[in-house]
């Protein structure tokens, strides 16, 4: 757990004396950090560099003289002041620290041999280093029932707990989920949840990571390995696009644990549980290990690679390139994305390539807007217009950063969302708008012109007071994304246009969800796009020179590809880790597309509804099984490392692209490693200048390198989306996502699968009352395309006129209600 001090830039240097040496420290920083930075490590248990200190454990006592004589002081809570003199080792300090250690051990069980933490336990280490040989404590120790579960994933052993307040501070101050708490008093104090109310936090795993002893353990790791059996490398989590730095640890060629790494611009050492316990999916029994082909009898059967690749190549070769499409790829490494773009756009010759399934934002919007980094958005005292999805559900660690910004750094967030989100309690203003009417709301917020009757279903006073927060803020940070999958991207684009015209100085962070979607767009995985933020219009010369050939006209986007497939206009559909059958917002379109496409070739690591319907399945290496780089939502490129070998004969996506290229008479120009692909991209792409593999490797910190925020491609003019009015007897549908859903990654994670919430339709209290519904009443939600039966939940966070159904939960398929061609979706809710 030893967390190093935060890396800081010394802006206000002061000189202090540490153990007789004069050193430089930052004025006001905690003394404990200043000492550690200057090679005088002070032992500690309760202090954590990412949380407010409490000065509780008293282990960090040192003798400090600020001119009034030396006195023992907790260094974790003492700000450095000029001229301060510190003794971290003298007899008095040593006695005080030994005393604390002895006190902590007096009630601590001696079960290190069976403790998960044994071998990496600061208490054990301290004891070995300085502790007393024989305990002078001869009385009986405190006894508690051995580990008790405090949630689906976390166990608590109260005998081992040293009451450092780290987990509880994390839960309340960092995650905002104060579901674990100290109870009772004095030596009876323990950590507890309320009876029957478990520590159900998306961030619970962090408490296990920061527990300085083995009191908190995680079910997915308990007894899986001992620290000395572990090997580790640093990497970046690709579960979502935040891109948290992690160390991935393996034991006997199995991934067993991920731990957050403190990346200052990104995750501050935190992870969400979905990312943290993602290794369970990698280790799943169900992993795809061998290629498969659909045989004569219609069954998928294991095949040789040569056979499967040959069949794939044959299918592609036999048709016109305009009848081939590549869908997905947002979960690939940058290198694999580049290889697949090159394969599709140059070797095969199709521009029907899209990393997004119609649920993202147009590539030119993501790449064409002036960018803001997470740090920019969260900068002290700033103002943020939040137009994205619920970050707690989709981009959990971005939520932690935004929450911290609002709570501790006086950042004012104006949130516009279709229903209250995890962020709403921390927003200075949170406005719930009628689906489809975001552009009008944003225009009113930016102009301050608010009709007396309100706008987008939000009353005039609320909009006016929110507008006041934005008034005169020219350097607004805007977070944009798709909060409602039942609403077309055009609506969001119109809202962005409204901000652009009112606040030309605004900067944008795209809150797209999939792991490396940003990298995919930077690599050109979108119709009309070429790598390096160029289009067919602006990049043809460069990329023709590099590749030999590039498409001459823009192809179909994700929705266009699905439409074309459904209408029988595609002969080959290649799915790069994409699962339209569970992931696309319009479920019936996805079904028709998979059925209507000629040959479906699927590259994936786990079986999904779509792989099971494919004709050729190629198993790929998953996270931790391949090297490469990834790009997060800000455009930050970091290095991914391989830790274990992929199961069976699974290969990395770029290798498959290279093999296919050869079979199609082309050549991707890669001999032995993905580095060649990356450096080729860097060589030809202006934004990637300075990001060569050598430059990335030379990085000392885990933060990676940021692509330029400013270099943009030109934004095409858009035509406003026409949203029809809602009829009085219908509700407007909101489809949004939860962190845990029934996608294949979660379904194959034992600990997360149990946390998938039950499907429901959420209604405002007013609408529910009008319909005579209560929470729990079973209802039918029907659109003109389909219907689902679910229990109703009356939720005051839902605005009147809206019906919220969560995407992809268990058997309930909100996607059947949606028609991707319509700008919004109206439904009727009826008692069953």
């Amino acid at each position: 757990m030893s967390e190093p001090p935060r890396r800081i830039e010394i802006t206000e240097p002061v000189t202090i004396t540490v153990d007789g040496r004069e050193v430089t420290a930052q004025n006001g920083e905690w003394l404990i950090d200043a000492c550690e930075r200057n090679d005088a490590y002070i032992p500690r248990f309760c202090y954590h560099p990412r949380m407010e200190p409490v000065g509780m454990c008293r282990m960090c006592l040192v003798e400090v003289d600020t001119g009034r004589g030396p006195a023992l002081q907790p260094s974790c809570m003492l700000p450095v002041t000029p001229g301060m003199s510190v003794d971290t080792t003298n007899d008095k300090v040593a006695k005080a620290q030994d005393g604390v250690l002895e006190f902590l051990l007096s009630n601590h069980p001696l079960d290190c041999p069976v403790c998960d933490k044994g071998g990496e336990c600061p208490l054990q280490d301290q004891t070995m280093a300085y502790g007393p040989g024989e305990s002078r404590f001869v009385e009986e120790k405190r006894h508690y029932e051995k580990p008790i579960p405090i949630s689906e994933t976390v166990f608590l052993d109260r005998e081992r707990c040293i009451l450092c307040d780290r987990c509880t501070r994390f839960a309340s101050d960092v995650a905002g989920d104060p579901l674990i708490h100290f109870i009772d008093r004095g030596s009876q104090t323990e950590i507890a949840t309320f009876p029957d109310e478990p520590f159900a936090s998306y961030f619970s795993g962090n408490t296990v990571q920061i527990c300085p002893v083995g009191a908190l353990t995680a079910k997915p790791y308990r007894f899986r390995a001992r620290p000395w059996d572990l090997e580790e490398v640093e990497s970046t989590c690709t579960s979502c696009s935040v891109g948290c730095r992690v160390t991935i640890q393996s034991s006997r060629n199995q991934l067993v644990r991920y731990q957050g790494v403190d990346s200052d611009p990104v995750n501050w050492s935190w992870l969400c549980d979905k990312g943290r316990f993602g290794h369970e999916a990698s280790n799943s029994e169900d992993r795809l290990r061998e290629p498969m082909r659909r045989s004569e009898d219609g069954a998928l059967r294991v095949a040789q690679w040569s056979d499967a690749l040959g069949a794939a190549a044959a299918a592609i070769r036999s048709v016109d390139p305009s009848r081939v499409a590549v869908l997905g790829g947002a979960r690939l490494t940058n290198e694999s994305q580049y290889a697949w773009t090159k394969l599709a756009k140059s070797v095969i010759g199709t521009d029907h390539v899209d990393a997004q399934l119609g649920d993202g934002l147009p590539a030119e919007v993501v790449l064409g807007l002036p960018g803001a980094s997470i740090d920019d958005v969260c900068a002290k005292g700033g103002t943020v217009l939040y137009l994205g999805p619920d970050p707690k559900e989709e981009l959990p660690v971005l939520y932690l950063r935004l929450r911290h910004a609002a709570v501790s750094d006086s950042v004012r967030i104006v949130e516009c969302s279709p229903m209250r989100s995890g962020l709403s309690p921390y927003a200075a203003a949170s406005l719930q708008y009628a689906p489809g009417e975001l552009p009008a709301l944003v225009a009113a917020l930016c102009s301050g012109d608010v009709p007396d009757g309100g706008v987008a279903g939000v009353d005039a006073d609320t909009v006016r007071s929110a507008a006041a927060l934005l008034d005169g803020i020219d350097d607004l940070s805007v977070v944009v994304g798709r909060a409602n999958l039942a609403e077309t991207a055009g609506v969001v684009v119109d809202a962005i246009d409204a901000v652009r015209s009112a606040r030309p100085g605004a900067r944008y962070l795209s809150a797209l969800r999939r792991g490396n979607v940003r990298g995919a767009l930077e690599a050109g995985m979108s119709p009309g796009l070429l790598p390096g933020r160029t289009t067919i219009a602006t990049g043809s010369a460069t990329w023709t020179e590099a590749w030999g050939a590039v498409p001459t006209a823009a192809g179909l986007d994700g929705l266009g590809i699905l439409d074309a497939a459904a209408e029988g206009r595609l002969d080959v559909l290649i799915l790069l880790g994409a699962d339209p059958l569970t992931d696309a917002a319009d479920r019936s379109l996805a079904r028709r597309a998979i059925a209507g496409a000629g040959t479906v070739i699927s590259l994936d690591s786990l079986p999904s509804a779509s792989t099971l319907q494919s004709d050729i399945v190629l198993p790929v290496a998953a996270f931790g099984e391949c090297d490469g780089t990834t790009t997060n939502l800000e455009g930050r490129v970091t290095v991914l490392h391989q830790k274990v070998t992929p199961p069976g004969t699974a290969r990395t996506d770029w290798m498959i692209a290279a093999e296919l290229a050869l079979r199609l008479g082309g050549d991707l120009g890669v001999e032995s490693s993905q580095v060649e692909l990356w450096d080729e991209l860097v060589k030809h792409s202006a934004p990637h200048d300075g990001l060569s593999s050598a430059a990335l490797a030379a990085q000392e910190d885990p933060d990676g390198l940021l692509l330029p925020l400013d270099a943009t491609i030109e934004l095409a003019a858009t035509t406003p989306t026409n949203v029809p009015p809602r009829s009085a007897d219908s509700l407007r549908l909101v489809v949004n996502r939860t962190l845990y859903d029934s996608g294949s990654a979660i379904s194959h994670c034992a600990s997360s699968a149990a946390l998938v919430p039950e499907a429901s339709v959420r209604l405002s209290p007013a609408d529910a009352a009008a319909m005579g519904l209560e929470t729990g009443t079973f209802v039918t939600v029907a659109s003109s395309h389909g219907s689902v039966s679910v229990p109703a939940v009356v939720d005051p966070g839902v605005p009147g006129g809206a019906a919220v159904v969560r995407h992809n939960l268990e058997s309930v398929d909100a996607g059947v209600l949606v028609d991707a061609a319509d700008p919004v979706c109206d439904v009727r809710v009826e008692l069953r």
Binding site: S172, P178, I180, H181, I183, D184, A192, F194, P195, E197
Partner: protein, 212 residues
């Protein structure tokens, strides 16, 4: 044993209104719940959490810190015998032993008829009147064993019903603060320099200005 009754919810809202932030009402509301049920039930803590806007775990964390909140059913009377120094010197510990024998329970225990819970407590601020005892937080001073016997008899017979209400009841006179008379209870963020301070500051500034 339940959530607060509608009348108590109304009272709870009045109590909450006395504080700049609702969470400050946590302890008073737990007392209210304890007065209602005789002890502090889980259901009541959930209700208090809803009323003050925090999680039940936070209410439990707070409530369990304090001696007076009982998370198990208690007797009708909590008989608290002080054994701290001043009382110890004058027989507090012996008085406690006597109480144990008479009631047949150890400290922390409740008599089988549900009448008495005996407690061995720390100083109750009656040191000059030692040994001192509280019953449901009503004082009885300078008690010998015989006085204690009499006290127990009187409590059992109901002779002291007027002076000792059932467990959980604290002050029977409540501060009665209504909207008209409240000066200025708003969240700290909404507070500015008080008017009389500003008046005197401005006066002083204008005097200074006149002098120079």
């Amino acid at each position: 044993m339940a959530r607060l009754t509608p009348e108590n919810v109304e009272l709870a809202h009045r109590i909450i209104a006395r504080y700049p932030r609702p969470k400050s009402a946590t302890i008073p509301l737990c007392h209210l719940a304890q007065e209602q049920d005789g002890w502090l039930t889980d259901e009541a803590m959930v209700h208090v959490a809803e009323l003050v806007g925090c999680t039940p775990a936070e209410v439990l964390g707070t409530a369990s810190f304090y001696e007076m909140f009982k998370r198990h059913e208690t007797g009708r009377y909590c008989l608290n015998v002080c054994t701290n120094i001043s009382c110890q010197l004058l027989g507090g510990e012996e008085l406690l032993e006597h109480a144990e024998q008479v009631l047949g329970v150890r400290p922390g225990g409740t008599t089988s008829d549900g009448m008495f819970t005996l407690e061995d407590v720390e100083c109750i601020a009656a040191c000059t009147e030692a040994p001192a005892v509280q019953v449901n937080y009503r004082y009885f001073h300078r008690l010998g064993p015989d006085d204690l016997d009499q006290l127990i008899t009187d409590l059992r017979s109901g002779a002291l019903d007027d002076v000792v209400p059932h467990h959980g009841t604290l002050g029977r006179v409540h501060q009665d603060l209504d909207g008209d008379r409240i000066a200025n209870i708003t969240p700290p963020e909404a507070q500015t320099e008080p008017v009389w301070i500003r008046r005197h500051r401005e006066l002083a500034e204008s005097n200074d200005g006149g002098a120079s």
